[in-house]
């Protein structure tokens, strides 16, 4: 009887040690302001992420942590058995603060632009906004239902001394949006 209680106690203790590794999150990050433009076979989208910057993250950015958002965009044609993948894109938005020059260097991978901004709020807007991203270009979309899925997440923060590799390290900040789905019907 005592041995059983002991085992249960050990399991509970372990769970208590292991499961708090899940980061504490405030308001959930989400995709908002989605807009799709379709001209023939060209499909471009625009959207932005909300509630992706926490105070801790801002502190980390101004402390010099390079911060990267990963964006995932998948475009499928819905079928009866298995959906057909039309396109998939993955790109990043990176922000690095240069404290010497007091500027924020922004790199938007989907456009290839790299630029500096002086203001953090402006930098945040650049980071969370995706404008007129070309999903397909020059492809003829057949008649049917298409599904567009978008997701964004924070690229894992690289810590000194490889602390992230140690089991007991608790992540300081993190976000990951749910998949945002948009259904698009293509008529002949």
């Amino acid at each position: 009887m005592i041995a059983k209680r002991l085992v249960v106690g050990i399991v509970v203790l372990l769970c208590a040690v292991v499961f708090p590794l899940c980061p504490a999150q405030g308001e959930e990050a989400a995709i908002e302001g989605f807009r799709l433009e379709r001209v023939g076979g060209d499909v471009s989208i625009s959207f932005s992420i909300t509630h992706c910057f926490s105070q801790k993250m801002e502190e980390a950015i101004t402390a010099g942590f390079p911060t990267t958002f990963n964006f995932f965009v998948k475009f499928y044609k819905r079928r009866l058995i298995k959906d057909k993948k039309i396109a998939a894109r993955r790109f990043r938005h990176t922000i690095v603060y240069d404290n010497l020059k007091d500027t924020f260097l922004i790199w938007l991978e989907e456009t290839g632009r790299e630029f500096e901004v002086q203001d953090l709020e402006e930098a945040k807007r650049y980071m969370q906004r995706v404008k007129e991203l070309s999903v397909t270009k020059g492809e003829k979309l057949e008649k049917g239902t298409y599904e567009l899925a978008i997701k964004a997440e924070l690229d894992p923060v690289k810590l000194p001394l490889r602390l992230e590799s140690i089991l007991f390290f608790v992540s300081l900040w993190d976000f990951e949006t749910d998949w945002y789905y948009h259904i698009e019907r293509v008529e002949p």
Partner: protein, 758 residues
């Protein structure tokens, strides 16, 4: 059975535990794989390796904790149940825990304090201030330089608008470049092309200046500063200002100089006078050397690192403490576990030895301790196993010897019993003595013959128990043996026990073992009393028969002759006729007496064989007694019959004769006034009738008693001496026994024992 069940339960529990642990490991691995920190930063292989190491550590730690706690609980329970060896195990475990816990905890606390203080020191205010100050210096430097470059560009823009002619502008730019220590000064057209420039010759590749978007900003009237890297690692801090011109103002030199590029009349007059437009851009570049840039970057990086570390201060500290705690726990649990192991290594063999000792003590010599160890415990176990093996071998030999001994004992016992049976059943009495004269054996015949109890004399010295008279006889016998050096000697002797005298043939034999050593003596008594008695009786009968035959034959002629002489010569003898008659009558009378005597002898010699028929002994006695009562009225006869006496086979006539003879003697003994008692007793268990004839007469002297039943022995003057001899003969023929004893207080009693089984 219950042990097997318990073992199965234990295995089941362990299986469940293993499955639980495996699931836990999978869960932890899944959780770790989803840690965002690890998913992309390091390669998958490294991740797996890392997870493996961490999980293995975790599993080991969990197992260690489990095993240690389980063992502690088990030890606690075993201690309560007072299981052998738990005290030693407890001592060892407590010792190991104490030895490991105290230094480890001290070390842990020291390390915690050290780490906490170290981390606090890393992030103290002074460090932060220094770093912040350094950074601010660098930032100020950049800001100042940027401001200066804008100021220089404004100044150059203002001066350029006042001079005309390319050469003059060129000279101005060169002069100002040197004056402001700039790397580059240039005037760019609205299209961004360099119109005039002055560059430091030492910096070969200072071109381009501001990017196009910055130029556009300036053309809109803004002042722009920009920093771009230089090829050698240094940086160029650019400052740009608009170069204003007026449409109406004319300046030949300026308008001519810029006419081709700016496409209009760009005036170099003061912009305040008229409407101004941005006709171009003045850009100045200040070179920051690589060494300075590197230093400022170092300052920047130091501050960044510091901020990084500050953010991670708490998790870092926690992490270090957790790792330290884990190591501490591992050390403590390892020490505890080691204590358990050591205790087990010590106590298990001890328990096995204790169990082995118990089993060996209970006779199980097949017990073998299967513990292999090379230390002293192993030596002890090995010695124990050797001991049990040797004991087993010895026991086997002893058992074999015991079996042989038992067989020998059984054989000896069988022989002894046989000998005892032989001795018990042999008619001869046997008494043996050892060499000290101690009685060792007395058989039943000897007990009966000598009226002894074997238990009273076995183990006693014959000198002590023997009467002085017989002791003398014994000494003489031994002396004779020693004198003659013979191994045996025989001697007939008479032994008197109380009122009983019997004749024995004593054979004394020397006992020697197979080597001839003297062991003692054995005396064999053959009871010759009956034999001698029979022989005497037979001899007397023969004598009687011969006497009767030899005497009786001439008596009749003598008597006839005497009667003839009396008849023939009675008348012829006148004067002596009386004498003659008296003499002849005496002859005739004496011959008649002699005849009677001879007839008695003849009867004794020719005693008829016993013919037993069922008769009532009480009635026989009574009928015999009637005659005596009538004849001797002065004597009181008391007859005490036994009513329970059954009718049994007995020769009536002869038995009647027995009573008559005995009563004759009794009547003779009481001599007139007296009392004669006859008592009959029947013992159903022995089936024996005992008759007692008691008188209160003169009694019989002891010396006459042994001869009383012999023929021709009489204490009476007129007796023939055959009466009691005949009694004895008849009773013997009935397998009975007659003996004489003194009657108390006076007189004699004859006791006759008659068995009913005859």
């Amino acid at each position: 059975m219950s042990k097997d069940r318990a073992e199965r339960r234990k295995r089941k529990r362990e299986l469940i535990l293993i499955i639980g642990l495996a699931l836990l490991v999978i869960g932890v691995t899944y959780q770790m794989l989803h840690l965002p920190q690890l998913s992309t930063q390091v390669p998958v292989g490294s991740n797996i390796l890392l997870f493996g190491i961490i999980n293995i550590n975790l599993i080991l730690l969990v197992l260690l904790i489990f095993l240690v706690v389980r063992n502690l609980v088990k030890l606690l329970f075993e201690r309560r149940r007072r299981v052998l060896g738990t005290r030693l195990r407890t001592k060892l475990v407590v010792a190991f825990i104490s030895l490991s816990l105290i230094p480890t905890m001290l070390l842990f606390l020291t390390a915690v304090i050290f780490i906490t203080r170290s981390v606090e020191n890393w992030f103290n205010v002074q460090v932060e201030r220094s770093l912040q100050g350094s950074l601010e210096v660098a930032q100020t430097y950049y800001r100042d330089v940027a401001k200066n470059t804008i100021h220089y560009s404004n100044e150059v823009s203002r001066l350029v608008s006042r001079v005309t002619g390319e050469q003059k502008v060129q000279a101005l730019l060169e002069r100002k470049r040197k004056e402001y220590n700039l790397a580059w000064i240039g005037i760019l057209s609205r299209q961004g092309k360099v119109v005039v420039e002055a560059a430091d010759a030492s910096l070969a590749y200072v071109v381009g200046g501001l990017p196009q978007d910055s130029v556009q900003e300036i053309l809109k009237g803004k002042e722009v500063s920009k920093i771009t890297p230089y090829l050698d690692g240094g940086e160029i801090i650019w400052g740009g200002s608009p170069l204003y011109t007026s449409k109406r103002a004319t300046n030949d030199y300026v308008s001519g100089f810029f006419s081709g590029d700016l496409g209009g009349n760009i005036g170099a007059t003061s912009p305040s006078k008229e409407e101004k437009i941005v006709g171009g851009v003045v850009v100045v570049g200040y070179y920051v050397p690589q060494s300075l840039v590197a230093k400022m970057e170092d300052i920047s990086q130091a501050f960044v690192d510091y901020r990084h570390s500050k953010i991670l201060k708490k998790p870092l500290t926690t992490n270090y403490l957790i790792i330290l705690l884990l190591i501490t726990l591992v050390i403590i649990f390892s020490a505890t576990w080691f204590g358990f192991r050591l205790a087990k290594e010590l106590t298990v063999p001890i328990m096995e030895l204790a169990e082995g000792t118990r089993r060996v003590a209970s006779g199980d010599l097949d017990f073998h301790i299967g513990i292999e160890s090379k230390d002293e415990i192993g030596t002890l176990v090995s010695a124990f196993n050797t001991m049990t093996h040797d004991l087993k071998t010895s026991k086997g030999q002893v058992e074999e010897g015991t079996k042989a001994l038992q067989r020998s004992n059984i054989e000896l016992e069988r022989r002894r019993r046989y000998m005892e049976t032989v001795l018990a059943n042999v008619a001869a009495g046997v008494i043996s003595f050892d060499k000290q004269g101690i009685v060792t054996t007395v058989n039943k015949s000897a007990e009966r013959m000598l009226d002894l109890n074997a238990e009273d004399i076995v183990g006693e010295n014959y000198r002590k128990i023997m009467q002085p008279g017989y002791r003398k006889v014994a000494r003489e016998l031994i002396k004779e043996i020693n004198t003659t050096r013979s191994e045996s000697i025989q001697k007939q002797m008479e032994i008197t026990l109380e009122d009983k005298v019997f004749t024995v043939l004593a054979s004394v034999n020397i006992l020697r073992d197979e080597r001839g050593a003297y062991l003692g003596m054995v005396v064999v008594f053959d009871d010759l009393t009956h034999l001698i008695k029979m022989q005497r009786l037979s001899a007397w009968r023969e004598v009687a028969r011969r006497i009767a035959h030899e005497i009786k034959n001439p008596l009749t002629p003598i008597q006839l002759s005497a009667q003839r002489i009396y008849k023939k010569y009675r008348s012829k003898i006148g004067r002596d006729a009386g004498v003659f008659e008296e003499c002849t009558n005496t002859i005739i009378h004496q011959v008649t007496e002699l005849k009677n005597l001879v007839n008695e002898f003849s009867n004794f010699a020719r005693m008829p064989a016993v013919t037993p028929t069922p008769n009532d002994l009480n009635e026989i006695i009574n009928s015999s007694l009637v005659l005596f009562k009538e004849a001797h009225r002065d004597i009181r006869f008391h007859f005490l019959p036994d009513p329970d006496l059954p009718i049994f086979k007995v020769d009536r006539d002869q038995m009647k004769r027995v009573f008559i003879n005995i009563l004759d003697n009794a009547v003779a003994a009481v001599d007139g006034d007296g009392v004669i008692e006859i008592e009959v007793k029947y013992d159903p268990s022995l089936k024996m009738v005992t008759l007692e004839v008691r008188d209160n007469g003169c009694g019989i002297p002891d010396e006459d008693k042994p001869k009383l039943f012999e023929p021709y022995f009489s204490t009476k003057k007129a007796g023939t001496g055959l009466g009691l001899a005949i009694v004895n003969a008849i009773i013997s023929d009935h397998n009975g026994y007659v003996r004489v004893r003194d009657n108390q207080p006076k007189g004699t009693k004859f006791i006759i024992d008659l068995p009913l089984g005859t």
